[in-house]
Symmetry: C2
Subunit: 225 residues, 2 copies
């Protein structure tokens, strides 16, 4: 690999990590706004999304420049296309954080609803999935990527327990139907953020091992390699 | 452009259109299963998702081959990276159709809920957005792509009217909370399918005009060019 390509790939990676850090911060702020009925904080997340979009556009343009300038092949080419796909996943996560923030604004208009206990645990786990998926990419660590894929099941369990709580609440009180529905949407958005982290982890496994594991649970667990 | 590259790009395009047709069929079947409480049809969609995943993997591998073999530059390079991104959007749409089918299976366990009148209109519009976004890509038609972006607002209006109906239903009867929530999820999935069609249309505008219009409503409307 030429020195110039190596330097450009390193820069791409740095830009991607900066974007990931912005996205992680947006997720945490959006959930805090939801829990604490903090409308100004929610608006901060909503207003901040355009900066994240610009970061994403920048990464995409840099990827295309690297492709055009160096015409990389084999593993270098796969690294660039992985950056393109991870970039898209990160941007969608930021959109979902914005969606959560919008739900937080809506929820502040209704009477407070009891915050399900699993929400913070689900948020912490999702956030650590995002971080570990990016770590797996930077270190080309397929083992860590597989761990991220498995954590997604745990997020789904938290999501299910939160939904069960919300159903009971809405059944007991018609006043809780509208806020319950908004809260349901917010936790679904969080669950989808975890799905995007899983997509990234699957891209990393593909990058490291050359095998597409998406849609193949056994391959994610490392059973059919 | 070399003849070989031209032929390979044409083939990529054909594979992508075949994938799009499969995805459109899955969307229609999933909604029909939802409306008609048809569990076998829902299961057909769920079982068919792995075929669609294989189609998507095939397109992705072909893209990487074209990049490695021809090392295209400029507009040809953008065509290939567009195929990669459209491919991902189509696969996510198929996943959402599968999610709708899963909701149809769940809903069949509960008493029937009245189907909101706007659901069929929302489905038809979403499906035509998918078709027109792909047409816009094949014909490099930025005008059509902009139309698709605008149609997304109409889908959002249908979605809102369906949610309003569901809220009333759930408020009136606690028995409707669980099926109402499932139905709410299904229509949200449909709305997200329309979002993915919008993503494709935005990619087409980028491909044709070289400007990233994502996240820039004025640019989508063609006002700031």
């Amino acid at each position: 690999m030429s020195k110039h390509l190596e330097r450009d790939l390193d820069n791409l990676q740095k830009d991607l990590l900066a974007l990931a850090a912005s996205v992680e911060e947006a997720i945490h702020k959006a959930i805090r706004a939801l829990q604490e009925r903090d409308v100004p904080l929610a608006n901060e997340v909503i207003d901040g999304d355009s900066d994240i979009d610009e970061e994403e556009n920048h990464v995409e343009e840099e990827c295309l420049k690297v492709l055009a300038l160096h015409q990389p092949v084999a593993v270098d080419l796969r690294r660039v296309t992985s950056v393109l796909q991870i970039n898209t996943d990160l941007e969608r996560m930021a959109d979902l954080a914005e969606d959560i923030a919008e739900r937080a604004v809506a929820l502040a208009r209704w009477p407070a609803i009891p915050i399900p206990g699993d929400l913070q645990r689900m948020t912490d786990l999702t956030s650590s999935m995002v971080r570990q998926a990016l770590d797996a990419f930077v270190n080309l660590d397929a083992k860590l990527a597989r761990l991220v894929c498995r954590l997604d099941d745990e997020v789904d369990r938290y999501n299910k327990s939160i939904i069960d709580e919300l159903i009971l609440l809405m059944q007991r009180s018609p006043d809780m139907v509208e806020p319950g529905l908004s809260f349901f949407s917010a936790t679904r958005h969080l669950e989808r953020i975890a799905d995007h982290a899983t997509n990234i982890a699957e891209d990393v496994i593909y990058l490291v091992e050359g095998a597409i594991v998406r849609h193949r649970p056994a391959a994610v667990r490392g059973e059919d390699s």
